[in-house]
Symmetry: C2
Subunit: 458 residues, 2 copies
């Protein structure tokens, strides 16, 4: 990042000195993603000027990497012919991604300046639901026919490959565009030039449907080492491909979404620095409200035992520790189980194995914590308890037993709730720490007061 | 997954009926990752038999995909010549990954049966620190010389490519193996056959050092759309490459690690279903202990205000709600900031922008929650408060003001602590919800009792 800042400074200097040629050469050496970062650092007023200095092909590649706010600014600045030039260089899936972020008037302008054929494809692509495989696929791939020879295939790749996002996996289709097989360029390179594709193509193909969840598509890349996977429609016709670089973006977005859900945030896919205050508020307030109101039950439990509490106020001192430990224990388990399910490490049929494992882990944790707490209370809290007129040993035993029971319940709930959620078709990530904490809070207090009443006779 | 279970059943049936030939054909059609899953489902006693049915090349690919426990079982079963055959087919980086998980006697046996050259390379690779770029690289890549023509390059790729993990990015090195440039097969395909590599190669290369963190290498794949990146030593000599499929594995492992740290778990990279009870206990107990003991401070605060609490026990009813809301608010912010930093969306120099944004979001959230809580307390808790002999309006006002202050502090701490941790060189993920909750618990109680003393005169 420091390099980028240095670069941005140098770019500003060259711009000030009007050394445009030198600037163009400097930027030509950089990766588009880095040029975009430099642009983001630079004075917005000179954005259009900077952009115009770029070589034509690089300009389009940089444009794709920019944030949607900067893309919008640039489009407003573009003349019609400049807009057309950039659009011509873009891959279709990138154009569609850009369009999805733009206000309606910009979208209209983009569509007006696209070639009629392109415009139709854009409109087709825009119809795929958000988060579907269709919405992230590219329609620029190399398609071949089964009776072509290896040599024919190379000729076709050479002729059409420049405009394709990947040439390394080529798809063999029949006259109705139904997917028959695939050949990799590696296979082609290592095969005899006179062989036909039918002889060498791979026919056991893993593919996704356009309407499938994009997360499913990304999971295929996690499991198998593919560079691209084909996307077919309901008639098994090849309509596009998903490339591994787009899959990585999906993997990271889905991870962010899971992490946000686990932290009781309503997920959206905008980066933090580009999310406004009100948008952030809207992402966070729903769960805060729900969890706050559901804490009413915990309050009710305390209220039920108000008499006992009045008789023994010192018990209150241990409520935060018990609730905290319960929440943390449950959170550990739920997050582990949710992540395990999302990585396909834990399956629904493993539920009893998981429960049995968590029972043993929870007992180990609970007993260790109880022992540590016993020592700590005897050393630290003893005098406070005596000062409040209670027997330190009894109070300590109440707290320790509650700890063991709470950790046990927390870990059990922490594994059962997410799996239950998945079984019922909900997203298990929502069942993470904050939700579990609220449930465990109520349980731990209920256990605490009952054990206290029993042992202390209050 | 259901398909896999069905398949596993069919495999067992065919095995029972001794239809080995049919079985071999069935499995030849499947992806190695799927065959591995079927093996994991099958009877362990027949694992070696099943494995021997596979075709030689597929056998090695399946072996790589198996869990380390099954690999170990198989190696014990292998004859020396079987072990040699599998080892010959494996890519070196995979062999090294397998060795790293094996007990010493198995490692010795593997090394004894590797070719002398391979053995040396394995030993070299084993020296790279865990989590370094060197530890995940492969040393099987295509290297070319700059005076080669495009045609020469293709000849060399055809001759050596079969054993390379990727042929699509080729590396141009000088006589001292110093990296000069790279050419993609796409560039080669689209270039004139008589051009030299020097004319067409890309010389602005993004690479990593062997000792760099593997996470840095993975981040390069997130940022740029590469299929492989070169790994060089301190003398800029090319020693290996990292391919995109390995980068995806690293991305997922690092994500899991972050998620676990955020849930107060000591991260390790073993999947849940293969982690024993005691190992799970060891991952979880450290933070549970630390957080439990640090809750002592919260207890001390309550103890400080014991007199006020005795005078007004109804206040206890709202402690869980205040602590919960504070923890959730802080957790939302800290998790958002930690994720933003890990995706390079939030940089250290953004700290004041982040604080300013969080201040506004926290006020919006705090006021909304206070209003909702006001209504809820007036409707639900009013009678309980009256029954306890207190004035409902005063108590409600105390709770609502505390809510606003708590949410404000929680969100401020939630963004400052992780960024501070990063600045000081610690992993910010540790500063997530559980840690923040403990800090916020103490603050919210302190605020609560002080406001209560002030307004209620207790």
């Amino acid at each position: 990042m420091e390099q980028i800042e240095e670069m941005a400074k140098r770019v500003t200097d060259l711009l000030d000195e009007k050394k445009y040629h030198e600037l163009k050469e400097l930027m030509a050496e950089l990766e588009p993603a880095d040029v975009a970062l430099i642009f983001e650092e630079s004075d917005k007023a000179r954005l259009a000027l900077l952009f115009r200095i770029l070589a034509k092909e690089q300009a389009a590649e940089v444009f794709v990497e920019l944030g949607s706010d900067m893309q919008e600014m640039l489009i407003y600045d573009f003349s019609d012919s400049e807009l057309r030039e950039v659009l011509e260089e873009l891959y279709l899936d990138d154009t569609v991604d850009i369009i999805e972020e733009m206000p309606a008037n910009v979208v209209k302008r983009i569509l007006r300046h696209s070639e009629p054929g392109t415009r139709q494809s854009i409109n087709e692509l825009l119809k795929y639901p958000k988060y579907s495989a269709g919405s992230i696929m590219t329609i620029e791939f190399v398609d071949l026919k089964k009776n072509m020879t290896v040599e024919d295939a190379f000729t076709r790749i050479r002729r059409t490959g420049l405009d394709k996002e990947t040439v390394y996996t080529c798809y063999v289709t029949d006259e109705n565009r139904v997917l028959l097989g695939l050949v990799s360029v590696k296979d082609l390179l290592l095969a005899d030039n006179s062989k036909t594709l039918e002889e060498i193509m791979e026919t056991n193909i893993i593919y996704v449907n356009t309407l499938e969840d994009r997360e499913q598509a990304a999971k295929i890349f996690e499991k198998y080492d593919f560079l691209a996977i084909p996307v077919v429609d309901n008639e098994n016709r090849l309509v596009g491909i998903i490339t591994v670089d787009d899959a990585i973006d999906v993997i990271q977005e889905e991870n962010t979404e899971d992490i946000e859900k686990m932290a009781a945030i309503v997920a959206n896919d905008k980066p933090y620095m580009k999310t406004g205050v009100f948008e952030n508020f809207k992402k966070r307030i729903p769960w805060l409200l729900v969890l706050m109101l559901s804490a009413t039950f915990t309050g009710k439990i305390i209220n039920m035992f108000e008499q006992s509490l009045s008789a023994c106020v010192i018990l209150t001192v241990f409520i935060p520790m018990l609730m905290g430990t319960g929440g943390n224990s449950g959170g550990q388990t739920s997050v582990t189980v949710i992540r395990g399910m999302s990585l396909n490490d834990i399956e629904m049929r493993d539920i009893f194995k998981v429960i049995w494992k968590e029972i043993r882990v929870s007992l180990l944790c609970g007993i260790t914590l109880a022992v540590a707490n016993f020592i700590k209370m005897m050393l630290v809290d003893r005098s406070d308890i005596i000062a409040s007129g209670q027997d330190p040993l009894s109070i300590t035993i109440v707290v320790c037993i509650t700890l063991i029971v709470t950790v046990f319940c927390a870990k059990l709930i922490g594994c059962v709730l997410p799996m239950l959620a998945k079984k019922l078709g909900f997203d298990p990530a929502v069942m993470a720490s904050p939700f579990i904490t609220t449930v465990v809070d109520a349980i731990s207090l209920f256990v605490f007061f009952n054990i206290a009443s029993l042992i202390l006779n209050i």
